[in-house]
């Protein structure tokens, strides 16, 4: 992660944040744009979950990692506190690997 990339992402993020406080009297965001922005974020997050859980490089990541992610997701649906979700996901993956699952 080069410094330039961090700076670019930081600057863009700050611009998104500052636009509202700066231009609230001159601009309005349409409901259509707002809807597309929130769906785009969900689409991107889901794709990140899928690729990060299932793939390693150009191949399959093995079963232990997606199993841990699934356990975390199942707990999150049940509104289990967030720290537990994180620990359960890592512990599932770690235990499966200890048992010899790749």
């Amino acid at each position: 992660m080069p410094l330039l990339a961090i700076a670019a992402l930081a600057a863009g993020t700050y611009a998104f944040r500052l636009a509202g406080p700066l231009f609230r009297h001159r601009l309005r965001i349409s409901g259509r744009v707002q809807h597309l922005l929130s769906v785009a974020a969900a689409v991107l997050l889901t794709a990140l979950v899928a690729t990060a859980a299932l793939t390693q490089g150009h191949g399959f990541a093995g079963w232990a990692r997606p199993a841990g992610v699934l356990v975390g997701g199942a707990l999150a649906i049940r509104r289990v506190p967030f720290p537990l979700v994180v620990v359960a996901a890592a512990a599932t993956t770690a235990l499966l690997r200890l048992a010899g699952v790749p």
């Binding site: 944040r17 406080p21 409901g31 991107l44 889901t46 150009h58 890592a90």
Partner: protein, 235 residues
């Protein structure tokens, strides 16, 4: 100062503390995963101070750790943070009228600080909640990332601890509430299939951006937009 705390109320202060605790755990795992994954110690720390948006930080670092290019990492982070644009309009009145409160205040706009602000009634309470939540989160988040990064530097075999499952699990917990909406869910599933199918053939980072093709199923916004903000979840 005492009237400031009284304006917020004890219940809200307790809720803010709980959200800070949850975010601290996410921040610590961000520091640990990135540093043990091979990034330099200053990288997660600089990202957390300057970007201060957990989802985008995880996303950008995830692309880079998977071998993707920095440009794909920046685009992925920016698409995620585009949601901050409507947030900024939603809380503009409490961020401040003078430029010396607006400039630092804008940096404190997060899912959590917006959620707490929109939950309150009355300008005084809204403003107090925004600044209390925003400042507390900024301190907790960055302290936790530093602690996690230091821990990650001494941890070696992170695969044995299952830490590679933390990043997708955090993102899954973040996105689940949004998937309750059917057209959002369809778009997200199509995007995920496209991304995974493209993974063996494309350089890392690109498949995730290709997932935005799923937006063709985005549908139209509901006619009555509920006036509620995002749930007070972790970023």
């Amino acid at each position: 100062m005492r009237s400031f705390w009284r304006t917020i109320g004890r219940d809200t202060l307790r809720d803010i503390a709980l959200v800070c605790l949850a975010d601290a755990i996410v921040g610590a795992s961000f520091g640990a995963v990135t540093v043990s994954g091979g990034l330099h110690l200053w990288v997660p720390v600089a990202m957390s101070v300057l970007i201060f948006a957990g989802g985008a930080q995880f996303a950008a670092a995830g692309v880079v750790l998977a071998g993707g290019g920095p440009a794909a990492a920046v685009v992925a982070g920016l698409v995620l943070n585009a949601r901050l644009l409507p947030y900024g309009f939603a809380v503009a009145d409490v961020v401040g009228g003078k430029w010396w409160t607006r400039l630092p205040g804008a940096h404190l706009i997060t899912d959590e600080s917006v959620a707490f602000t929109l939950r309150q009634h009355g300008w005084e309470r809204r403003r107090a909640s925004f600044w209390a939540c925003g400042l507390a989160l900024f301190l907790c988040w960055n302290a936790a990332v530093v602690a996690g990064a230091l821990a990650g530097a001494v941890m070696h075999n992170t695969a044995a601890f299952g830490l590679d499952a933390v990043f997708p699990a955090v993102l899954l917990a973040l996105v689940l509430p949004a998937l309750a909406d059917r057209s959002t869910r369809n778009a997200a599933l199509l995007g995920a299939v496209v991304a995974v199918a493209a993974s063996p053939f494309l350089p890392a980072g690109l498949p995730v951006l290709l997932a935005l093709a799923g937006l063709v199923l985005a549908g139209r916004p509901a006619l009555t937009m509920p006036g509620t903000g995002p749930a007070p979840e972790v970023r």
